[in-house]
């Protein structure tokens, strides 16, 4: 039952942080709350025997991606939310739609509780580094071609980085900054 206790703690932190992302005014507060959600989700991942994904969650999500977000928030210092109404017509519509989708999805999953065939398999292999690397880079007959996909994802990331650089540097070509940089 100790796993259940830890799960409730992590789930409570994750949900509380997720709703404070929704409610916070300054983007820095929202980013910090989002980091809280991600770290407690890493705890949930390690509870369900996936230590590699838990590490990746902290390294890539809470570390790299959120670092980038916080960095950009600090670069654009005037980015504070100008107290736009959250509960006008459009906002209330968004709340209703999100709650409706959440309730519908949750309703489907509550039905899973009694079915014997869709329970967590206790003898499923642990997702540690060795097992995942064998699946990802294995060269047997039964590997699903993940290594090729891994190369493709490298290309996607490279394209994204080049695209980001092109998008962010376009301003340097305009006249005002080129005269500034001339002397």
């Amino acid at each position: 039952m100790i796993a259940q206790v830890y799960f409730w703690i992590f789930a409570a932190i994750a949900v509380a942080c997720a709703f404070s992302v929704l409610a916070s005014r300054h983007p820095i507060n929202g980013a910090m709350a989002l980091i809280g959600t991600m770290v407690s989700l890493a705890g949930v991942y390690s509870l369900i025997a996936s230590p590699f994904l838990a590490t990746l969650q902290i390294l890539v999500y809470a570390g790299a991606i959120m670092m980038l977000v916080v960095f950009v928030i600090m670069v654009l210092n005037s980015a504070k939310d100008h107290y736009t109404p959250m509960l006008d017509g459009l906002g209330a519509f968004g709340f209703v739609i999100a709650a409706l989708i959440g309730v519908l999805v949750a309703r489907v999953f509550v039905g899973l509780d009694g079915k014997a065939s869709v329970k967590i398999n206790p003898s499923a292999p642990r997702g540690d580094v060795e097992a995942i690397s064998k699946t990802l880079f294995g060269s047997g007959m039964h590997t699903g071609g993940w290594a090729l996909l891994f190369l493709a994802i490298g290309l996607v990331l490279l394209t994204a980085i080049v695209g980001a650089v092109l998008l962010a540097k376009r301003h340097l070509d305009t006249a005002e900054t080129s005269t500034e940089g001339g002397h």
Binding site: G94, A106, K119, I153, V165, H171
Partner: protein, 105 residues
């Protein structure tokens, strides 16, 4: 070894997804829109991972590899999204999505 029931994991995932969707739909600040997308991607990863624990053998491990690609796509999305946010902020000087109404005029 005791584990967490599948439906509890899935309901946590559904709650996080709904919170992320509400953030995207309700907030008018571009940073919060991006963070809501990240939240929804996290919820999808949790769902992926908990379904992978239902399988046995190699299928479990393949289900654990798939979120890895989802994380990489999320990294690419954050990279391009933040660059677009910077570009938009430079031309419009605001991050309020209500202010981006040029196509309406």
């Amino acid at each position: 070894m005791d584990t967490v029931p599948l439906f509890q994991l899935q309901i946590l995932s559904a709650i996080l997804f709904a919170a992320g969707l509400a953030t995207v739909l309700v907030r008018r600040n571009l940073f919060f829109v991006l963070m809501g997308v990240e939240l929804m991607l996290n919820a999808a990863n949790l769902s992926f991972l908990s379904w992978s624990r239902v399988q046995a053998g190699a299928a479990t491990l393949e289900g654990q590899v798939a979120p890895l690609f989802s994380i990489a796509i999320a990294a690419a999305e954050a990279c391009v999204g933040l660059a677009m946010l910077l570009a938009v902020f430079r031309t419009r000087e605001t991050l309020d999505t209500d202010a981006y109404s040029k196509m309406k005029e």
